[in-house]
Symmetry: C2
Subunit: 356 residues, 2 copies
């Protein structure tokens, strides 16, 4: 089915339309198609597509170029699809409403309306942000065509509650393996149960205390969680292997290598295999372009806890912040929602910045 | 490929041939085909097949009928396929050598040679003993055609180290579910990690002390093991569910209902869903037919710890024991083997009993 997006609809209606085109990571094609068709109707933009990632640019020869970027994928649905507007029309509920189709809606409304912004704008809509770093559309673009991302400053419309959020925490996934010895369960004392042994890995996770360091004036908050566990051979066999996959969210005072080293020391008694890692980014709000943006949109910046592609722009040497209408605290929960007023507010502030 | 079994080969060679026709539970057809073809060549037997289960009977009008039964499936391979004979030709290694293709080889050799045994014999070769009770070929036959199993006494050629083993322990599988609350791992404190919570289920398993009750003079030894664990939604999501599958091997002083009740009380803090249960069987060696067999083959009976289909015969009112050449202690381990001498010894003792 071909979906048609109406970019003149208000932010909440457009967000709902974006939510209702399911786009769990890896299945973004229908949504990317719809966005591509909508952008192609705008004569003031040049549009390029790579996979399910779209880049649309004004080319007005302005002195400054800024990037507005957002991912179009979501985590798997949790009984919260499609979107529903509450009776007062103040809250929109559904998967991706906060993370981050409301931000994508703001991008699309600005792209449609601002034929002659005061700064040239590059709008980036990309795939696979919610999965391993190697599939991330912005990562792939930064490798295959970094010039498409060039600019003086970047804003990621990740959920930030309408507050400018600086930097981001890094993320590392690793598989921790407990070993045992296989045996028939009728004589289990002839073996060693690897699932029981994995209980000690869970003991480490259960007793772990998060660090909350202050970096460049902003306070971060780490996390360490099992995100998967798997073990078992047959219903009557004592298993000889059990794998716990953990996700470590680390503050930007640690490099990726330091985070890996810490995790290996924490689980020194087991086999540790790093699956993927993405470094964090220090806040960097003292950079001139970042400071100017903060002054224009107002508010008091705070630390970004979730990993975002701010780190990707940091690697390319482009100052970047998170600023979007969603609420990160309830992202990925069954009750995920966005406040309708926040969508309009975010759009208004960005619009005034881009037309000043 | 059609496999051809030579029933005149010695017990070790025939066991190796049976091992080398892979027959992990659910994939027994090629082995059942080979056994069926071999039996069909024996004019003194009537052969019936149901699924991958075969029944072959003499019909000599003897005063007594005995049943010799064995399963033809194995657990999944663990790098121990095909069979290998050691240089001294004293040990045969490989999946199913002990549990229980050496027993099946003894059945087949007796079936081929004993055209006129002193007792009528029913040979049963059945599928899916190593998986859930509902797929067990002997169970299915006991429901669809119980008369095919009728007799005065039954011997299961399960691994027993050449010793008569009485009764069997029961087995119960249950899924224990830990619940949590889903959240983004970047803000994991907004949720509750169900995998971490499952650590408490593993705590129960790790601190559990087995009962070793004496029943009808024989000592049993219980076991309680996790046989599978599964949880996880995505690499950046705090999971809201984690399921631990446990296998409880209970002594025959408990009924199936009592075992279930005990398990539910042990895991009273969690959701418990019973997946399957098979009751044990008390030793019953005082029954006249059982006592006569024990006297004929010699040795001191001991308790059978593994669940076997002795319990199935007990339900049909037929006294039954375990007696086979395999070694149950190393069943289901990568190093599974059988002693070549034990195969011949078991065959000799059964032959003298059936020709006396």
């Amino acid at each position: 089915m071909d979906h048609d997006l109406d970019l003149s609809a208000d932010g909440a209606a457009l967000t709902a339309a974006l939510v209702d085109i399911a786009s769990v990571s890896g299945d973004e094609a229908p949504l990317a198609d719809a966005i591509e068709r909508a952008l192609a109707r705008l004569p003031h933009l040049r549009v390029h597509r790579t996979g399910n990632t779209l880049v649309a640019r004004t080319d007005l020869g302005r002195q400054e170029r800024v990037v507005l970027a957002g991912h179009i994928d979501t985590v798997p649905h949790a009984g919260n699809f499609p979107a529903t507007l509450n009776p007062e029309r103040s809250i929109l509920t559904g998967v991706g409403t906060s993370d981050m189709k409301s931000g994508v809606a703001v991008q699309l409304r600005l792209a449609a309306d601002l034929a002659a912004p005061s700064r040239d704008v590059t709008y980036v809509f990309y795939e696979c942000e919610e999965v391993e770093a190697e599939r991330n559309g912005l990562y792939l673009l930064s490798r295959s065509a970094p010039s498409a991302l060039s600019g003086d400053f970047a804003v990621l419309l990740e959920p930030s509650g309408g507050v400018v959020e600086g930097g981001c925490q890094g993320t590392l996934r690793a598989a921790i393996t407990a070993r045992g010895a296989r045996a028939h369960t009728a004589r289990s004392w002839m073996g060693r149960n690897a699932i029981h042994a994995a209980g000690e890995i869970l003991d480490v996770l259960r007793s772990w205390t998060p660090r909350c360091p202050v970096v460049d004036g902003l306070e971060y908050h780490e996390g360490l969680n099992a995100v998967a566990i798997a073990g078992g051979i047959a219903g009557n066999v004592v298993p000889d292997s059990c794998v716990v996959t953990v996700n470590y969210r680390f503050a930007p005072d640690l490099s990726a290598a330091e985070a890996e080293s810490y995790l290996r020391s924490l689980f020194a008694s087991w086999e540790v295999s790093v699956l993927d890692v993405a470094p964090g980014a220090r806040p960097g709000l003292t950079a001139p372009a970042a400071a100017a943006f903060v002054a224009a949109v107002g508010g008091t910046p705070r630390a970004k806890l979730g990993w975002t592609d701010v780190a990707r722009f940091a690697e390319l040497g482009i100052p970047a912040v998170n600023y979007g209408p969603g609420i990160s605290e309830i992202a990925h929960t069954p009750g995920e929602y966005v406040e309708v007023a926040a969508i309009g507010d975010c759009e208004r502030r960005l619009r005034s910045w881009l037309t000043a």
